[in-house]
Amino acid sequence: MSWTLLRATLRARRTSIMWYSVSLVAYSWLMTWFYPQIGGGQYAELIDNMPPEMLALFGGTEVDFATLGGYFQTEYLGLMWMLIVASAVIIFASKAFAGGIADGTMEFTLAQPVSRVRLAVTRVVALVGYIVLLAAASFAPIAIFGPTYDIELSAQTFWTLSAFGVLFMLAVGGIAMLLSAMFRDGGRAGGIAAGVMGVLWVADLVSNVSEAAEVLDPVNLVTYWQPGKIINGDAVAPEAWWIYGIVGAASLVAAVLVFRRRDVA
């Protein structure tokens, strides 16, 4: 890993890092503030009147909607958070290699005495750092501002939610980074990664209303994303940790190995 390259990588993305982080802090604070405004009883009533297909759209049906976890899952973390953070992570990761090759800066960087593995590992570390930052910007405001609005998030819940969110986005970012190592164009890599996520989301949506589609659930990253259950104090299924961990680690290692052997100009 190269600290010089890490600083350069993060600096090159400073604008998007800042805007995504600030927006997530504001959005999380807004959703925390909003919870007592609508009141638990009214919210439960609202949810009861929704068709299950509509609820499925907001992030699965595994959580009791009339709870704090149900609120955060349906109103924020189940869909909107996933869309916002996945888009940020896919854009970041898809530019990791292909972006530099397309704009010519990779040629300049690799003309210096830095090995490809070192450069690739640095890009992976930058991605991990970015995801941790986005997770902190998402979940810390709930933990910090929550008590003001009668929302108590225990330390264990906060850390579990943060770790699970980071691992989920590492799996998403890993796929995007692998595609970035394979293609010359960051837009193409990002487009395919976004397409994969879109397919997984649709598959999850369909599986929530149709048993026939449940066959995809064991390998569907979106299906395992149940932040409401964590907020309600339920345990995360062990296979969810494994799936995210394996997809994330395998795709990031593969990205480094592919980049090590490819043409970079």
Binding site: S2, W3, T4, L5, A8, R11, A12, D103, G104, T105, E107, F108, T109, L110, A111, Q112, P113, V114, S115, R116, V117, R118, R260, R261, R262, D263, V264, A265
Partner: protein, 300 residues
């Protein structure tokens, strides 16, 4: 010792040929000019030498070490200036200098001197720089650490004559200090000015390696002479290295003259009264065409 040597180096992009079966040697302390038209394979060759492209076949040795895709230690000893300068547009020249210093472990010993010689302001962002100033920055970044081998791809592109001269002077000084330069160029006058030896590449093949003197001997000139009296083609016809002799008007003659025939032409003209004389260098394209005609037994 050869600083660069390749054996059967080939690179194909799918079915498209980049370079094929390229074997060449660049001796230590030389300035090697790598000549060829656009698309001939010059940049592909350079990228293979830098380990940016994986050769389809063959091998390359640089500074005594085999070139690999992950050869960071080797690149510590090489300075590279790309043909098409593409840097981080939102950052300043100073930021780039700091980045290179960070990656190389120290600031280049020639950095301050080069900044002064090229009269370059490192405080401006790259996107605000003209093409010539971007080229200056790329040159400073590539040469500041005083590398053992300088690989320059069209290094004076976009530079004004004064800065071109500065580049030539720096190259000559580096060579005098024992460094080696591999220079890709279209510009014959540039090659003449600084190179000792030349490799000519066409359609991915190295068609010849020549000393500069030898190439100059192949260089064509266009002769236009106006005599005081009536002109007659027989004045120049038959001279070795002279062809395409033609009369222009009553007293004018034109001809093509190879470099090593200039002396005999001037001596022949001295036998008569000359009113005007103009000798112009043929374009590099003409030199190539002539050279390739020779190399391929009459087919240009």
């Amino acid at each position: 010792m050869d600083v660069i040597s390749t054996a059967g180096l080939s690179k194909f992009y799918g079915k498209a040929r980049g370079i094929e079966d390229l074997s060449m040697c660049v001796p230590s302390g030389a300035v090697y000019g790598f000549l060829g038209p656009n698309g001939a394979g010059k940049t592909t060759t350079i990228r293979c030498l830098l380990g940016m492209l994986k050769p389809t076949a063959g091998e390359a040795m640089v500074l005594g070490e085999p070139v690999t895709l992950d050869g960071s230690a080797l690149r510590h000893r090489i300075g590279y200036v790309a043909g098409e300068v593409r840097l981080f547009e939102r950052e300043t020249g100073r930021w780039h200098l700091d980045l290179v210093a960070g990656l190389r472990g120290s600031r280049g010993p020639l950095e301050a001197e080069l900044l002064e010689r090229f009269d370059f302001d490192p405080g401006r962002k790259v996107r605000e720089l003209s093409k010539g100033n971007k080229q200056k920055l790329a040159l400073i970044l590539g040469m500041a650490h005083d590398p053992e081998l300088l690989i320059l791809d069209e290094p004076t592109s976009g530079l004004d004559p004064l800065n071109q001269e500065s580049v030539y002077e720096v190259i000559e000084e580096r060579v005098a200090a024992g460094r080696t330069v591999f220079l890709s160029s279209h510009v014959l006058s540039e090659v003449e000015r600084v190179c000792d030896r030349i490799g000519i590449i066409r359609s991915g093949h190295l068609v010849a390696e020549e000393d500069v003197r030898s190439l100059l001997a192949k260089r064509l000139r266009h002769l236009q002479v106006t005599l005081a009296g009536d002109a007659d083609e027989s004045l120049l016809t038959g001279l070795a290295g002279v062809d395409s002799v033609a009369r222009v008007g009553a007293s004018g003659l034109t001809a093509r003259v190879k470099g090593d025939a200039v002396d005999s032409v001037v001596k022949r003209l001295a036998t008569t009264e000359v009113a005007d004389l103009r000798i112009t260098q043929a374009s590099l394209e003409d030199v190539f065409l002539e050279f390739y005609r020779d190399a391929e037994g009459g087919e240009a």
